[in-house]
Amino acid sequence: MFDDLRDLYQEVILDHGRKPRNFRRLEDADRSARGDNPMCGDRLELFLKLAPDGRIADAAFQGRGCAISTASASLLTETVKGKTAAEAHALSDSFRELAMTGTCPHCQAALEEEMERLQPLSGVHEFPSRVKCATLAWHTLNAALDGAKEASSE
């Protein structure tokens, strides 16, 4: 009945959806932002700890959402660690292109490995109403990096 959905709900997504990594508050976060998708009620809060050189030393999140938004946030916290703000922004842009189109031909070679890890989320591009689930955490990342307090993936 649902076999062709294995493209969207790959095992890694279901796994991160069920057991999100870095799912906690960072009490000593340097940056944080709340993300809100009013259309489906997903909400999350993202926390970033910065190293003295400005790189992201730690990332974590809390909130509620569907498997896709949770997995996306979980993978985000894993892939942004060690990145500069500029690199994180670039990764965010690349991811959003991936989610919307299924590929990212212009993506920076430097981010190849990270994009590989995010690849399982690319199936979402066939589901327009779900793209926002996948990108919510990344909008929130941008907001946190820019010092804004709220993001919306509407």
């Binding site: 009945m1 649902f2 062709d4 959905l5 969207l8 709900y9 279901l14 959806g17 259309m39 489906c40 009620g41 997903d42 509620r64 959402g65 569907c66 498997a67 896709i68 589901f127 779900r130 689930c133």
Partner: protein, 408 residues
């Protein structure tokens, strides 16, 4: 007349569509219903043969369009058994109709110290306008509790009416989440006995039951065209004429005035006073066709068919592992909101979509109700129309069972 669902289905062109290669199982009629050929054809004929702006036109097409537009008003009045067709105001949807009451009646007829009362199960359309009114005018808002089985708590209602300060009771005639049908006549009597007016949000109810405004003695009743198998862009406010006569206008513009100078305007009598600007002409014609369509089938036949579906759904959807139904009201219609222990509503809806099943995921514009039932993350909602079949209900049950395996 016996109700033949297969014949009815043939009236709806969209139902023969394949969705991603699967038969369409459309279980989102509560959000918006599909349109029968009769409605589509009536709109096409209006635009191809009888279109012009209404009122003031002293020529054939305008007279024909005006007649068609006013005939829609008469048909709507008959459909609701309204006491007077001049009490029928065409708005753009239920939401605008309720806002009209909040703005025009609420701002001008409620006295300081009075309260507006609604319930925990209301659609945002019957909550937010009262929030706006409160901000603007400082009226008090009171919220009637909903019982665990999903019914309006009438004891709580009685208690909250007791001090006589409630000016308006605004209640959904049928819940768009729980399916609960409110005991409207009783609520109207309680409200009136306490000196309050009563508004029913009939957006869901009017689709599934015969509504009798004279029996209800409702001060205000609203519904929306697109849920009644009619077009988008049209909604109805049915009000007692005495209220409309006293209410100031809401929107200002053409057709709602009797005279305008540069300094001031004088209002036309209702319903014109509340229909500023070019009305939804083609949509009124479509709504008329929709009313004729359901009337020809018979609201009783529709109700009986849906009762079968509801009974079957109550049997089939209640024993699926991991699925919890919200609400079990005695008197209920074909709307089922479900929470599962195995998937977020959004993921489940996507899954069902792949099986051809269209259901809605989220909080269905009833966030407080989801909070009340502890399902902030939302539910998956299946809602029936007159074209829904028992086989579709069974297929949904089967899909919910298989979905559990998928996410396991």
């Amino acid at each position: 007349m016996s109700f033949d669902v297969e014949r009815v289905r043939r009236d709806f062109p969209i139902l023969s569509q394949k969705i991603r290669g699967k038969d369409l199982v459309f279980l989102d009629s509560g959000a918006s219903a599909q349109k029968p050929r009769a409605v589509i054809d009536a709109m096409v004929r209006c635009m191809e043969e009888r279109y012009a702006n209404v009122h003031r036109g002293a020529y054939f097409l305008s007279e024909a369009a005006t007649e068609a537009y006013e005939a829609a008003r008469l048909a709507t009045a008959r459909f609701l058994n309204a006491p007077d067709p001049r009490g029928i105001v065409f708005a753009k949807n239920s939401t605008e109709a309720i806002n009209l009451v909040a703005h025009s009646w609420g701002r001008h007829m409620l006295r300081p110290g009075q309260a507006v009362l609604f319930s925990e199960l209301e659609h945002h359309a019957n909550i937010v306008p009262w929030h706006l009114l409160k901000e603007d005018k400082g009226v008090e808002l009171r919220v009637v509790r909903v019982t665990d089985s999903g019914e309006i708590d009438l004891e709580d209602l009685a208690a909250k009416l007791e001090d006589g300060k409630v000016g308006l009771v605004a209640i959904a005639h049928m819940s768009n989440v729980l399916g609960t049908v409110a005991p409207a006549e009783r609520i109207a009597r309680m409200a009136h006995a306490a000196g309050a007016k009563v508004l029913f949000d009939g957006s869901q109810a009017a689709v599934h039951r015969r509504v009798d405004l004279q029996a209800l003695d409702a001060d205000f009743y609203v519904f929306t065209g697109h849920k009644l198998y009619g077009p988008t862009g049209i909604g109805v406010l049915a009000a007692k004429l005495e209220h409309l006569e006293r209410m100031p206008p809401f929107l200002g513009g053409g057709d709602m005035i009797s005279s305008v100078t540069l300094e001031r305007s004088e209002w036309a009598p209702p319903p014109a006073k509340f229909e500023a600007g070019t009305p939804p002409i083609v949509e009124a014609v479509g709504l008329h066709a929709a009313i004729d369509y359901v009337t020809a089938i018979g609201m009783e036949a529709i109700e009986a068919h849906e009762r079968h579906l509801v009974d079957r759904a109550m049997r089939r959807l209640t024993d699926i592992e991991g699925v919890t139904l919200l609400g079990r009201a005695q008197d209920r219609g074909g709307v089922f909101a479900m929470a599962t222990d195995y998937a977020h509503a959004h993921d489940l809806a996507t899954l069902l979509d792949r099986a051809g099943i269209a259901v809605r995921a989220g909080r269905h514009c009833a966030e407080p109700l989801h909070t009340r039932f502890g399902v902030e993350g939302g539910t998956v909602r299946a809602s029936f129309g007159l074209y829904t079949t028992e086989a579709e209900v069974d297929y949904l049950a089967e899909a919910l069972t298989k979905a559990r395996e998928f996410f396991a």
